[in-house]
Amino acid sequence: MKNKSTNILTVVDVSYEINDITINKGINFNINLGEIVSIIGPNGSGKTTLLRLISGDIVPSYGNIKFREKDLNNYDPKEISTMRAVLPQNSHISFPFTVNEIIQMGRFPHPENYKSDKTIVDDLIKTFDLNDFLGRDFTSLSGGEKQRVQLARVFAQIWSEDSYNGKLLVLDEPTSFLDIKHQLDFFEIINDFKNNGLTIIMVLHDINHASSFSDKIGMMKKTELIYFGDTRDVINSQNLNDVFDINLKLINIDSNGKKLIYL
């Protein structure tokens, strides 16, 4: 095992243009092993495109991205699929697969093993509170239920028996359809995985969630990542007002410097 770096993802001078329109411009940041990083910013600021670049779905026009010290382009799709899973913003499935079948699909990159796959799927069904939907047709579920099934699927993809060191999860608005209970459950779940070494980068809309549950925060505005750093350094009313063009106040809720937005 290489031990020299704690770095899992390095983004250097990345820009993305399509049809002469710039969507991401001059983006630089690093993510360390086992960190939870949230990206926030107004609509159309380029958050989803940044996640797609990190996921290798699209290739940067300029600059480069390194995952585990190797250029993202040099990975074989099969090779990377066991180390990194991605939850896109919304997925549409037109055929009536069951909840079990969808979660099971997360095991596709791994050699088939009926017994261990079943254990993993059963475990994730419990974790994401999906017991009532076993065998149910996916297309008949509500938005939040679908989101929990898709979350279970991406966790099945990077499932590990011991440590999640070196594994990366990329989530685009993972809580957008969840009710408050399942939102909080979700943050508890990712925190457990983080404690086992998992690294997570996600786009969130709720600034309170981002500031409460992430180690680092990136703020995007008009194609650029204008602030990136430790949560307590970045979250302040001046930065937020700058990024979102609004006037909001923060209130301190504890002595650790944790802040809550006051609307």
Binding site: E79, F95, F97, M105, S140, Q157
Partner: protein, 355 residues
Amino acid sequence: MNKKYEKNTIIFLIGLFLLAIISLVSTTIGPVKISILQIIDILFESININTNLSSSEISQAFKTVVIDIRLPRILMGIIVGIALGISGAILQGLFRNPLIDPGFIGVSSGAAIGAMFVIMFSQLIAIENNFYIQFLLPVFAMSGGLSTTILVYKMSQMSGKTNIMAMLLSGIAVNAFSGSIIGFLVYRASDMELRSFTFWTLGSLDNSNWLIVSIAIVAILIPIIISINLRKKLDIFMLGDAEAGYLGLNIEKLKKRIIFISALMVGVTVAFCGMIGFIGLVTPHLVRLIMGPSHKTLIFGSAILGAIILILADFISRIIIAPAQLPIGIITSALGAPFFLWLIVSQKQKIRYEK
């Protein structure tokens, strides 16, 4: 392995059993009545086993009718049913749309141009020998079908990726353009040519003989094996292009394979048997209703059910106005079209349910 697996195996076995029974019964029908027992005797005799279940002397004429006329016809029906069923299943998977018919990739309309060309051209240069027409027509139909499919595929390429929506639209456009070419040829055609062409478009298993059956088996064997191997990948593909890519699936390779193996399978059936509609559309749907949407059961199930439906349609086409026979395409469309309407109505309700 588990209960679901056992249940699926039983359904497959029932399907294969039904196919065998229907094929046998269908073999008895025709101007000469031959009993099932006599047919079994003849079949076993042809592989040098003496069964004599019918306990009667079977004439050489009966043997010729069964071995050289009815058997190749039934086998051709099974092959065509398998090819149409599988290509319908994998193309509906490719478009992630249960309302897709193999005609959407342009193969049938291209084949029709090829066929019409041969029908008119052979009259023009006075090819009297039926053999040439029998040989040239499949070759031209096949080339026409593959060319239009390649055209549709090329049109859907956008910066190195296959755009499914663009493919659907270019398929419709290419079909419309082919329609105008066919229209022009039909306008210029003589009554005789028109009649041959019309019969060709209605589909038929009449030309089946052992040579054609052998060619068809060789041509569709590899596509069948490839399709069955794609079953797990096609399930993953249902999650969406990006999602499947994140799971390590090479989606461009998958799309290319599906298009070309289904073009090959449909091309072979159209070349030898003309246009037989609705089987590719309806069969996968019925299998999904019985066994669920997973391609692990869908591809194999569509192969068996496609063959059953085709043999049944052929059976009906031979008895409904006996001693004459109706073109098989009329039967499949007459049964398929009402089913398609039902599909649209039930799908409409489902879309509302899905919100």
